[in-house]
């Protein structure tokens, strides 16, 4: 059976419906000839100008053939032309580059369905900031997979009382499923978990890179819960403060903190009596603590739980849930 995607559709159908319309017509036809099983496993599509189109499915890398279907090697691969690169960018931007100007400047766009597309090219810098990315040379389409229940194992260790979660930091290297876990924590906290005695909380999500709720036209494409308000495409630090002031949340959820102003905002949120669940890039907790911007948060013992992820048993493997007060793990992979 093929892995299930959003709304009960198999993942290959999700790709056909949501990704292919954003690709040039010829490439679209070539990809329609790929085996359903391969498409269903695909989690990245890499397009590079002048080079063969590649799919990443699990640990496999597969080239799309210029005749359609799977290529036997890169020589047979479908080469993305200059014109097709431009067309792809326009299609991904919903035929209006100006609407996605800020996102493109930051190097990504979000497609309908919450799929994130990283964009590279030549950056034009003005006053130290990227003004525009021109001569676009490549795209990395990351297929969004919503995993309902991804947080089932950790939730019992994150609930502090019937209306509070512990201040939690999720630490993980890239592609280990921290955003997927974060999204499911937000959903479960928002809907409430009766078996854990957790009532539904008012959740505020600051989704700077549109990865958590994956808003498209202001509508969350992912299930983020009944009581969740999403501040989309807003800088994290400003967004956290805005949410606390305007939406009176019980829990603030945000992705990838790491800058000085993020740490200041996290502190503000915690001091306002609002729980926070955030993520940070890092191989281990030690990695994160070493970062000057975040060190002060640990020195002041602001966080109460740290969840560490890896991909040892596939993306989303929970290595440990650490209680920072006692310094002892309350959940380890081996214990599970």
């Amino acid at each position: 059976m093929l892995p299930e995607g959003r709304c009960g559709r198999p993942m290959n159908q999700v790709i056909l419906d949501e990704i292919l319309p954003c690709l040039p017509v010829k490439l679209r036809s070539a990809m329609q000839m790929l085996p359903a099983e391969l498409l269903a496993r695909t989690h990245e599509i890499r397009l590079r100008r002048g080079r063969p189109v590649m799919l990443v499915a699990g640990d496999d890398e597969v080239f799309v053939s210029s005749r359609g279907g799977v290529a036997l090697g890169p020589d047979e691969g479908y080469i993305l032309s200059d014109q097709e690169t431009l067309v792809t960018l326009q299609l991904m931007a919903g035929s209006s580059i100006y609407t996605y100007e800020d996102e493109i400047r930051q190097g990504y766009v979000t497609l309908r369905g919450g799929h994130r597309v990283g964009i590279v090219g030549r950056a034009v810098v003005q006053d130290g900031a990227v003004k525009v990315i021109k001569d676009v040379s490549g795209f990395c389409i990351r297929i969004s997979r919503e995993v309902m229940g991804a947080a089932d194992a950790v939730m019992p260790h994150l609930v502090k009382s019937h209306n509070r979660l512990f201040h939690t930091l999720i630490v993980s290297p890239p592609r280990c499923g921290k955003t997927t876990l974060l999204r499911d924590i937000a959903r479960q906290a928002s809907d409430g978990v009766p078996s854990l005695g957790l009532a539904g909380l008012r959740v505020g999500v600051v989704d700077e890179r549109s990865e958590i709720a994956a808003c498209y036209g202001g509508i969350p494409q992912n299930t983020v819960g009944l009581r969740t308000d999403v501040l989309d495409a807003c800088p994290k630090a400003a967004g956290m403060i805005m949410l606390v002031r305007s939406m009176s949340p019980d829990l603030v959820v945000t992705d990838e903190i790491g800058r000085e102003d993020d740490a200041v905002a996290v502190r503000e949120v915690m001091n306002a009596g609002v729980s926070i669940v955030a993520t940070a890039h890092g191989e281990s907790l030690e990695d994160v603590v070493r970062r000057p911007a975040l060190r002060c948060l640990f020195e002041a013992q602001m966080f109460e739980r740290v969840v560490t992820l890896s991909s040892t048993e596939g993306p989303g493997t929970v290595e440990t849930v650490l209680d920072l007060k006692t310094g002892k793990p309350v959940l380890t992979r081996s214990a599970r």
């Binding site: 017509v25 431009l86 067309v87 326009q90 299609l91 931007a93 919903g94 035929s95 209006s96 580059i97 100006y98 609407t99 100007e101 525009v132 036209g217």
Partner: protein, 171 residues
């Protein structure tokens, strides 16, 4: 009596033809003004709300249903439903509507030039091209209005005069 009636009919018909021709001349500035006002709305949609193009084009039309609005609606439909890029969709829409409109070739050129960058650049550049197109169309409208006044008057007089001459000859 019959001859008098016939003469009146000839003069009346010629005046009607003259009037129709005159009205055709006043149609072009009217259509240009309509397009210019839609461009003004489009400018607001892009600069303030960053509305996606297809939706912005539909909003630019508002509730108006004139010939000029058909370019915007058709382009929006083509962007939404086909695989055409915005520039191609706009070009197709302009060519299709042009044949049925009172627009002149220079109006079509201004519209086509605007379409070249449609949806393909940032807001700042998009607005610059929009302003340029509006300016060209406004200049065309001023010229068209002048021409319409002169030609409309001429056609009306011509209609009545030719009608009267023919009636006299036949009488």
């Amino acid at each position: 009596m019959v001859r008098l009636l016939g003469a009146a009919l000839v003069v009346g018909s010629a005046a009607l033809i003259g009037n129709t021709m005159a009205r055709n001349y006043s149609e072009r500035p009217r259509q240009l003004a309509e397009i210019a006002s839609a461009f003004a709305v489009l400018e607001t949609e892009i600069s303030y709300a960053r509305t996606p193009l297809a939706e912005a084009l539909v909003r630019a039309c508002g509730t108006r249903r004139g010939v000029g609005m058909r370019v915007f609606r058709l382009a929006a439909d083509l962007i939404r439903s086909s695989e055409l890029l915005p520039g191609e969709a706009w070009r197709t829409a302009v060519h299709r509507v042009y044949a049925w409109s009172a627009l002149a070739p220079e109006d079509r050129e201004a519209l086509l030039a605007f379409g070249e960058t449609l949806g393909a650049c940032g807001a700042e550049d998009q607005l610059r091209h929009l302003a340029l197109a509006r300016e060209r169309l406004r200049a065309n409208e001023v010229r068209a209005r002048d021409e319409a006044e002169r030609m409309a008057r001429m056609w009306r007089y011509l209609g009545v005069t030719v009608g009267a001459m023919v009636a006299l000859l036949l009488y």
